[in-house]
Symmetry: C2
Subunit: 497 residues, 2 copies
Amino acid sequence: MAQQDSSITTRAENYSAWYNDVIAQGDLLDDAPVRGCKVLKPHGFGIWENIQKFFDQRFKDTGHVNAYFPLFIPMSFLSKEAAHVEGFAMECALVTHHRLRTTKDEAGNVAVEPDPASQLEEPLVVRPTSETIIWHMYGRWIDSWRDLPILINQWANVVRWEMRTRPFLRTAEFLWQEGHTAHATEAEAVEETLKMLDIYAEVAETKLAVPVVKGRKSARERFAGAVETYTIEAMMQNGWALQAGTSHFLGQNFAKAFDVTFQTKEETRDYVWATSWGVSTRLVGAVIMTHSDDDGLVLPPEVAPIQVVLLPAGPPKVWGQVMPKIDEIAAGLKAAGIRVKVDDRDNVRSGAKFFEWERKGVPLRLEIGPRDMEQGQAFAKRRTGGDKFGIAFDGIVEAVQAELTTIQCELFERARAQREACTYRVDSRAEFVEKIETQPGFYLIPWGGDDADEEAVRDETRATLRCFPMEQEPCDGLTCPLTGKPAQEWAIFARAY
Amino acid sequence: MAQQDSSITTRAENYSAWYNDVIAQGDLLDDAPVRGCKVLKPHGFGIWENIQKFFDQRFKDTGHVNAYFPLFIPMSFLSKEAAHVEGFAMECALVTHHRLRTTKDEAGNVAVEPDPASQLEEPLVVRPTSETIIWHMYGRWIDSWRDLPILINQWANVVRWEMRTRPFLRTAEFLWQEGHTAHATEAEAVEETLKMLDIYAEVAETKLAVPVVKGRKSARERFAGAVETYTIEAMMQNGWALQAGTSHFLGQNFAKAFDVTFQTKEETRDYVWATSWGVSTRLVGAVIMTHSDDDGLVLPPEVAPIQVVLLPAGPPKVWGQVMPKIDEIAAGLKAAGIRVKVDDRDNVRSGAKFFEWERKGVPLRLEIGPRDMEQGQAFAKRRTGGDKFGIAFDGIVEAVQAELTTIQCELFERARAQREACTYRVDSRAEFVEKIETQPGFYLIPWGGDDADEEAVRDETRATLRCFPMEQEPCDGLTCPLTGKPAQEWAIFARAY
């Protein structure tokens, strides 16, 4: 479709507008005709497909298996776990009828309406998350310690009727994976919860090149129905925090709500211990916001749907001399597992092609013209900047692989440096109130407050307690600068998406 | 979970009961608490995951890309294509509210109900298929011939409120892929339609080992909104037909319904040409019904979640002598890409293990005991029968690969032979009416009837016109045995799922 306007607002100008422009220019997503829903276009979905592959492999490496549970949950299930229903009641899509009635007006136009005769006795909730239906099923599957552990993951769509949406970060329907495990002991469930948190952090940093802080959520920020919620928190370029994944220790809450007990090795009966953990298409938003620049999308090679684009240089009439070489190199790169695209469209000028692939965040561009043929090299340009440079045809596959690795590492290091630079400490509440406004970032606070203090801070500053980092310095003897109370534990406060 | 009853009804006794027993004993699926919905358990979902990988790869090899469109479709969209709404109106799940209202009784029990204040202005249909929403989006994306073709596939869940359901074959919610392509010319769209039909047949036969007949549907059996529907029809062991995949040439029907035009190279404007094509989890049912036997599930190695199970023989006390070898062999098989499971549970007797893996359809079982160690070989048993035989440790990876290939081919050949044996011709309607009852199968008919004749045959015999096979013998001069009219084209009639 012809680009109406190809300009991108700068980050400095308006970060939110910049984000939306990057997504539009990168052709990642489009608005759907349904409130709060988006269409993941091929280039945007391709990023998610790569993210999925990495997680799915790690889940299987650690003994998990995939399964599929129904989209619809009987309404009554939600209220079985009190905190859970409190958390999701306000954003549930409800199915109440199962048939349309078609009507024709005199002009013969067909119109439709729900057939009143098809109303359901009990409405169905479109899953906002699957704990309730899965624990109902686990109740049928678990009878003895021999049936444990159950280590199941599901890739699925879920619906949460959000009023304020933002592309990838918050939409009414989104795609995710939700792991739901059942264990015979508390220790084993806690170990699982933390193991998955580690896997989330590992994939985020090594594949998405998004540095994250592993931490524990405060009671106020806990998942509805969890005993403890652990999180990986990333920092976007504007200093705001983004919760990139969560892993929950559910204790025996859902086992009790759905009466799921098992016979222990000691022949007693006990409630089953549970965990659940998930990451979603929100991670695509994290990748975009972490790496992109004022020229548009920047993608780490590991998650880029297209890692290298190959183009013939010069006018189409000379391409005959270079296309055989381009196809040969493309074949070599593909054989090495590199995702390569040859752009030999003769109805688009080179400048426009460069612009398009830059907007789509392709990490590396290779051009070959007649003169390059003579010199036996391709001209390379990194999306992340720097001058063009030559790569000899001889050994080009290894050279390209090395380039991609370098780009991947640079992006991670750049993001980590930016996070360090925007991580602050303050001596007083006044200083915090002023800085959080002018200098967004992670604020490391030796926290001494309670739920009420936490809420007061949020109301005054719009900053929330993101997490208590797993890596803690001692804070004995310190006073909490935000509450004046004795510090209990280091916490990170930030504005968050 | 402790198996209550591990018996399997024989096929001869009751084919439907046999199918349900095979699924239950194979631990493939379970009933969900929502009418018509099922839970795909790990072993059943694992078969679908393998099927998905094969198709996804073939789609990408042929230039298709994946995307994701919303689950919800505005109700009014359905009625834009008249035939389409006729086809789906009777089985649509409708979302009418987006919030729950929680109430507490004096005992403090929480109950919930749809919040009347959250009723939607326009109800949303949970997608039964996505042509309407996708063509709405294509209208935004297509402007010129440069935007074509669009070759998009989507892996998704869809909902069709079926009244009579059967595991895998017909459920209210099911998983599938739906390809939706847009083209500048009729010829290109027709070519795409047939190309995907060929891919469906190729994967069904080479990976699922399910022989299929490629054919064209009659007008009565056409997809709602299609100009032509093509199908791959498989035959189950009871002689019934199973539609295993369909590819539709949609002409310009949806482009007209959603007013999607493009500027041609000749600078004129024309409506876009369309195709759509899909296969679903129903294929898992086809695999089960085609290959399984009276001892339970039989899986072709290509789609088996576990291809080889390795077990130590003899009492646990002697396992120390064999486990290192078993782990070494397992590692070797895994390295060769073979899906292997080591069953070293010491709380389950060998006999029970053999029984369990047989029920789960694992193609090949390998046992190693102390005596086998001395003889330097493992004892192998095929799920498809025959005596145990030795496989020398030396070169065992290649030997196992060869075994799996042989089993895959044998299953396909066996299924093809069974289909040939159950493909009949008849000389008269009387003969057909009698035989279809006593001898279910594919009946090759030089068909001369019209829609009314087709319906009459179905009403009298419960057999339907499955397809007009792509491979046609001449039928000029022949008279249709079912209608007495001059034959126009060879057709297959059968009882079908």
